[in-house]
C-alpha cells in the first residue's frame, strides 16, 4: 500500500462522502460538504500529512452560492495591448513591496488591483503588528521572511516616512508555577527563532512596570522588547509610492478576468481595461491568490478565508490600557490549538488602542461584516489582560480576511508547472512584517528570469505627508507662514489640516474617495468618525480636483449624493 493509498483510506474513514485524489504530487479533495467546518477540516487533515506538495480543496459547500468577486462595474481599453516585463497582481502590502523591489531593476513593472486604492483588503484591515516570530515554526517561510524583514524594517519605515513604534509585546500568565517551565522554553525558542530583542520573563512587580494596568490575577509576564507596530495601510501606500517614484506603474480598478496560458507560460492577461502581455506574472492576490494561480494553470494550494475583527478604542482611553501589545495566556484547560495568537490589546502606531483580532473560518473571501457577538466575545476575553477595558470606549470596528492556506504557511516560490509566474500567496499573519523580505526574493527571481540588471540609480526615500500635529510650535508656525492651509484644522478629532488633505489629494497614488483621504491623513479616523470633517474633506476634494461633488463617494463606486437640493426662489 502506498503512502497515498494509506491516506486515502484514512480520509475515507473520516469523510466517507469526500474523495481525495492525487494530481502530480498534490492532493485534490472533492465532494459536497454539509457544513463548512467539515470542508475546512478535510483540507487540514490532508495538509497534516506534510508530504503532499499542496492541498487543492475543491469540496463544495451544500447550498452555498459563492458571493461573486467584487469587481469594477466598467471596462475600457486603457491597458489594451501593452507589454510589460513584470505584471504584479494585487496591491496589498505584498504586491507593493514586490513592486518597490522590482523598481530597483531595469524592468518595466505594472501592478494591477481591482479596488480603487492600494491596501484595500488585509493590508488596511489589519492591526499593524510587526511581529517577533516567537510562535512560528522553524523552517517555515513565515519565520524565514520575518527574520529577514526585521533586520531592515525600522530603517525601511524611516526611508518611507511611515510610523514605526517598538513598544514591545507582553504575555501575562495567571499560573505562577508555569514560570519555571516558561523561562527556559522561551529562552531557547527565542534563540532558535532569532527573536529580535530576545525575551524577558518578569515577576508581577517588574511586569507591572511595563504593563501597569495588567489584570490583577496575572502572576508573571513574558516581555518581548522587539515587538513593534506600523501603520499597515500607510506602509503599503508608501511602498507603492516609492515604486512609482522609481518608475513602476500602478493601475487601479483593474481586475484580472482570465489568462491565456500556452506551453507552460502565461501569454496574456485579460483585464477589464484590456489585454496585457507580460513576460513574468507575480501572484500577490491575497485571498484570491488561489483563483489567480488557477488562471495561471499553476494551482497547488487553496485559500480558506479566515476572518478577524478588530475594534479601535478612543485615544483618550489608551493610558488606562496597554503600553505594549498585550494578551494573557489562557488558563490551562482553556488552551485550544488555533492558528491565530488569539488577539491582544495593543497601542496602534497612531496611539489608539486596538483590541483583536479573533479568527473565524468563512467561505466568503470578501466577508468584511462585523458581528456584535464576536466583538463582545473579544472584549470578554481581553478583559483578562487589561482590567480597564470597556466596550464603551470603542470608536470603530472592522473585519479583515486572512489568506490562509491549509499548510498554514506562505507560498513564496516560482511556478510549479507554469514557468513565467511567481507566487507570493497565502500571505497572512505575520504578512505585514514579512512582506518586505518577500519582495526582495520575488524581484530577484523575476530579474533572473528576465536577465535584468539593477538600475544604477534608485531612490529609497519617499517623503510622506507632513503631520502638522507632531511638529514643534516653531516648525508648525514656519510651515503655516509658507502655506496657511496647514493652519486650518479640518479634522478636529485627529487635528488634521486642510494642507495635509490637499497634499493627500495630489499624492503619488491619488485617492479617489473620502476613505482614501482618511487612510492617508487620518481625517475621519477619530472619535466623531468623520461626522464633522467629511463635508469639509468633500469640499476640498471637489475644489482641488475641480470635480462635481456629486461624483465623490465614501468608498468603492458608491456616491455620497443623489442630486442637488431644490433651488430656492
Amino acid at each position: 500500500m502506498t503512502k497515498l493509498e494509506k491516506f486515502q483510506e484514512r480520509f475515507a474513514e473520516v469523510y466517507p462522502s469526500f474523495r481525495a485524489e492525487a494530481k502530480d504530487d498534490c492532493v485534490v479533495l472533492s465532494g459536497v460538504a454539509d457544513n463548512y467546518e467539515d470542508l475546512v477540516k478535510a483540507g487540514q487533515m490532508a495538509a497534516k500529512t506534510k508530504w503532499f506538495y499542496g492541498v487543492i480543496n475543491d469540496i463544495k459547500l451544500k447550498g452555498y452560492e459563492p458571493t461573486p468577486i467584487k469587481a469594477p462595474s466598467f471596462s475600457d481599453k486603457a491597458l489594451e495591448g501593452i507589454h510589460v516585463d513584470v505584471l504584479v497582481i494585487g496591491g496589498g502590502i505584498t504586491g507593493c513591496a514586490i513592486l518597490r523591489e522590482l523598481s530597483k531593476y531595469q524592468l518595466s513593472s505594472l501592478l494591477v488591483d481591482k479596488e480603487e486604492d492600494v491596501a484595500m483588503a488585509a493590508s488596511s484591515r489589519n492591526d499593524g503588528c510587526v511581529h517577533v516570530g516567537m510562535d512560528l515554526h522553524k523552517g517555515s517561510l513565515k519565520l524565514k521572511y520575518l527574520v529577514r524583514s526585521r533586520k531592515f524594517y525600522k530603517q525601511m519605515c524611516k526611508d518611507l516616512d511611515v510610523p514605526y513604534r517598538q513598544d514591545g509585546q507582553s504575555i501575562g500568565f495567571t499560573n505562577g508555577w508555569l514560570k519555571l517551565l516558561v523561562r527556559p522554553a522561551l529562552k531557547i525558542k527565542a534563540l532558535i527563532n532569532h527573536v529580535p530583542g530576545g525575551v524577558k520573563v518578569l515577576n508581577r512587580r517588574h511586569f507591572q512596570t511595563i504593563e501597569p494596568n495588567i489584570a490583577d490575577d496575572v502572576a508573571f509576564g513574558v516581555f518581548l522588547p522587539g515587538g513593534a507596530c506600523t501603520s499597515p495601510y500607510e506602509l503599503t501606500i508608501a511602498l507603492g509610492e516609492s515604486a512609482v517614484h522609481n518608475g513602476a506603474k500602478i493601475s487601479l480598478r483593474t481586475i484580472v478576468e482570465s489568462m491565456k496560458v500556452e506551453n507552460h507560460r502565461v501569454f496574456s492577461v485579460q483585464t477589464n481595461r484590456g489585454i496585457i502581455y507580460p513576460k513574468v506574472v507575480v501572484n500577490a492576490a491575497g485571498a484570491y491568490s488561489d483563483v489567480i494561480a488557477e488562471m495561471m494553470n499553476d494551482r497547488f494550494f487553496t485559500i480558506h478565508p479566515r476572518k478577524g475583527t478588530d475594534s479601535i478604542i478612543d485615544k483618550a482611553a489608551l493610558p488606562t490600557l496597554s503600553r505594549t501589545s498585550t494578551t494573557v495566556y489562557p488558563k490551562l484547560g482553556q488552551l485550544k490549538k488555533t492558528h491565530s495568537k488569539g488577539g491582544a490589546v495593543m497601542p496602534t502606531s497612531d496611539l489608539n488602542a486596538l483590541v483583536g483580532p479573533d479568527a473565524l473560518e468563512t467561505p466568503d473571501r470578501e466577508d468584511y461584516t462585523t458581528d456584535k457577538a464576536r466583538v463582545d466575545a473579544m472584549f470578554d476575553k481581553q478583559i483578562h489582560a487589561m482590567k480597564n477595558l470597556s466596550e464603551r470606549d470603542i470608536i470603530t470596528y472592522f473585519s479583515g480576511i486572512r489568506a490562509a492556506t491549509y499548510e498554514e504557511d506562505f507560498v513564496v516560490q516560482k511556478g510549479k508547472w507554469t514557468t513565467n509566474v511567481i507566487h507570493a500567496a497565502g500571505i497572512q499573519s505575520p504578512g505585514v512584517t514579512a512582506a518586505p523580505a518577500i519582495g526582495i526574493d520575488v524581484a530577484k527571481w523575476a530579474s533572473e528570469m528576465l536577465n535584468a540588471k539593477t538600475k544604477e540609480k534608485w531612490d529609497p526615500i519617499r517623503k510622506g505627508i507632513v503631520k502638522t500635529r507632531l511638529l514643534s510650535n516653531e516648525e508648525r508656525d514656519a510651515l503655516i507662514k509658507k502655506n496657511p492651509a496647514y493652519g486650518h484644522i479640518v479634522c478636529r478629532c485627529e487635528e488634521i489640516s486642510e494642507g495635509e488633505i490637499i497634499d493627500a489629494i495630489h499624492s503619488t497614488i491619488p485617492p479617489t474617495t473620502i476613505d482614501g483621504i482618511k487612510r492617508r491623513v487620518r481625517a475621519g479616523m477619530g472619535r466623531c468618525q468623520g461626522g464633522f470633517c467629511q463635508p469639509a474633506v468633500l469640499s476640498i476634494m471637489a475644489k482641488e480636483e475641480k470635480i462635481d461633488p456629486l461624483s465623490i463617494g465614501k468608498k468603492g463606486e458608491g456616491k455620497l449624493f443623489f442630486r442637488r437640493t431644490k433651488e430656492g426662489k
Binding site: 470596528y397 516653531e474 493652519g487 468618525q529 463617494g553 455620497l560
Partner: protein, 413 residues
C-alpha cells in the same frame, strides 16, 4: 500680566453669549472659533423655533445666531476665526492657550477660561451597529450640513434611527426636500425628542414612529442597500425572530449627543458621569479655579435659548475679579432625577436667583418637585408631566447655607 482677562473657546450660542457678557462686564475678552464663521451648529439649523424664550419670537437658527453675533459686535471682544486650540497649560494663576490658525501658531495667556465647546453626535459604531460598513450611514447633523449648507442631497429613501430632536427635524427636512423617510425607529419605549417636534416633524408629515425597535444590522458594500430592524425588550436587547428588512439607501442616526470636553479633560477638569460635562457651581465654574463652562459642553440642552443663558452666567462670572472661593456644598437629587446642574453651590458667592437645570430619568405624571435647603422646603413646584427629553429649569434663592436636595414626589402626598 495676562494678555486677556477671559478667553472663550467655541463660537456657538454658548460662546457668543459668554464672550459678549464677559466683555460687557469690562473683561478684555478673546473668542476662539475653529470654523470660518461664528454661530456653531445654528448655522445649519434653518428650521424655526429658536428664540421663543430669549427674544419672544420664532427665529430660524441663523437668525438667532445673527442676533447673538450682533450683540457680540457691539462689545470690544476680539474674535479669532479658523482658530484651533492645540494646548492649554494651567499657570499659577491663569492659563496659557496655544492655538493654530492660518496665520501661524500663537500662544495667549488669560486669567479665566470659558469652555463653550459644544457637543458631538454619537456615531453608528458607538451604538453598536454591525453588518457591512457602507456609505450612506450618517448622523443627522451631517445630513443636515450636506442638505442645508452644501445644498447636496445624500438621501433618496432613508430610515432614521433614534428620535432625538435633530433626527425629527431632519425627518421633516428630508421629506420637504423630496426624499422619503420610511420611518423613525427608537429603541426606547418613549420618544427622545421634544413633543412639539414629534407633532410638527413626524405627525404632520405622516412619518411613522416605531418605539422599542432598533436597527440591528446594515447591508450593502459601497452604499447602504437595506437595514435589519428588530423589536427590543424592556432592557433594549433585540428580540430574536422579530427581524424585518427595510430597503433604504441611507441610515440617519439621531442617537444622542456627547458634550465635547477633550480640552477640559486635558487640564484635569472633573466631569460628571451623567451630564458628561464639567461639575460646576452656580457661576458655572468647574472644580478647576478659573475654568468655566456653559451650553452643551456643560450638559446637553434642548433649547438654544438656555444655552445662551448659561453662556451669560459664565461670562459674567468669569469677568468678575472676585477670586474668593468659599466652601461649596454639593447639590443632591433623588433617583427620579437624572441630574441637576449646577451640582455645587458656593455660598461665598451670590446665592440669589440661582438657575438650576434638571432632567428626569423617566416619564412621570402628576409630580411635585420639592427642593430642600437643609430641612426647609424652599420650592414646591407641581408638574403635570415630566419627560427625560425635556429639560426643566427652576430659579431659587438660597438665603442661608445648607444642603440642597431635589426630590420628586407624587402630587397626592
Amino acid at each position: 500680566m495676562f494678555v486677556y482677562d477671559v478667553i472663550v473657546i467655541g463660537g456657538g450660542p454658548a460662546g457668543l453669549a459668554a464672550a459678549s457678557s464677559a466683555s460687557r462686564c469690562g473683561a478684555s475678552t478673546l473668542l476662539l472659533e475653529r470654523e470660518g464663521a461664528l454661530g456653531g451648529i445654528l448655522k445649519q439649523c434653518i428650521h424655526d423655533g429658536f428664540g421663543l424664550t430669549r427674544y419672544q419670537e420664532k427665529l430660524a437658527g441663523p437668525e438667532y445666531a445673527n442676533k447673538e453675533i450682533e450683540k457680540l459686535n457691539e462689545t470690544t471682544a476680539e474674535v479669532s476665526l479658523l482658530t484651533f486650540v492645540t494646548k492649554i497649560v494651567k499657570l499659577q494663576p491663569g492659563f496659557k492657550v496655544t492655538v493654530v490658525n492660518p496665520k501661524g501658531v500663537s500662544t495667549y495667556t488669560t486669567k479665566k477660561l470659558i469652555l463653550a465647546t459644544g457637543c458631538r453626535e454619537r456615531t453608528a459604531k458607538q451604538v453598536s451597529i454591525h453588518g457591512t460598513n457602507p456609505g450612506g450611514v450618517m448622523t443627522a447633523g451631517q445630513a443636515q450640513y450636506y442638505i442645508n449648507i452644501l445644498g447636496l442631497m445624500p438621501i433618496k429613501e432613508c430610515v432614521i434611527l433614534g428620535s432625538g430632536d435633530i433626527g425629527l427635524i431632519m425627518a421633516r427636512r428630508i421629506t420637504l426636500e423630496g426624499g422619503h423617510v420610511e420611518g423613525v425607529y427608537e429603541a426606547k419605549s418613549t420618544p427622545s425628542g421634544l413633543a412639539r417636534n414629534i407633532a410638527q416633524c413626524l405627525t404632520d408629515f405622516s412619518i411613522p414612529l416605531h418605539l422599542s425597535e432598533t436597527v440591528t444590522k446594515v447591508y450593502g458594500i459601497d452604499r447602504l442597500e437595506a437595514v435589519e430592524i428588530s423589536k427590543v425588550d424592556d432592557k433594549m436587547n433585540p428580540i430574536p425572530g422579530t427581524e424585518k428588512i427595510v430597503k433604504c439607501d441611507s441610515l440617519i442616526l439621531s442617537v444622542g449627543l456627547i458634550p465635547e470636553n477633550e480640552l477640559a479633560k486635558s487640564i484635569g477638569v472633573p466631569l460628571h458621569p451623567v451630564t458628561k460635562g464639567p461639575i460646576v457651581n452656580q457661576e458655572l465654574m468647574s472644580k478647576i479655579s478659573g475654568v468655566y463652562t456653559c451650553g452643551n459642553a456643560m450638559h446637553v440642552n434642548d433649547l438654544a435659548d438656555y444655552v445662551s443663558e448659561s453662556g451669560e452666567i459664565a461670562g459674567v462670572a468669569a469677568a468678575s475679579t472676585d477670586e474668593i472661593a468659599g466652601v461649596s456644598k454639593a447639590v443632591t437629587w433623588d433617583k427620579n432625577l437624572a441630574y441637576v446642574v449646577p451640582q455645587l453651590v458656593d455660598f461665598a458667592k451670590n446665592t440669589k436667583d440661582v438657575i438650576f437645570y434638571f432632567r428626569v430619568r423617566d416619564v412621570y405624571q402628576n409630580k411635585i418637585l420639592k427642593v430642600y435647603l437643609g430641612d426647609d422646603v424652599i420650592l414646591k413646584k407641581p408638574f403635570m408631566t415630566l419627560r427625560p427629553p425635556e429639560m426643566e429649569r427652576v430659579v431659587l434663592s438660597l438665603p442661608n447655607e445648607g444642603e440642597i436636595k431635589f426630590v420628586l414626589e407624587d402630587i397626592a402626598k
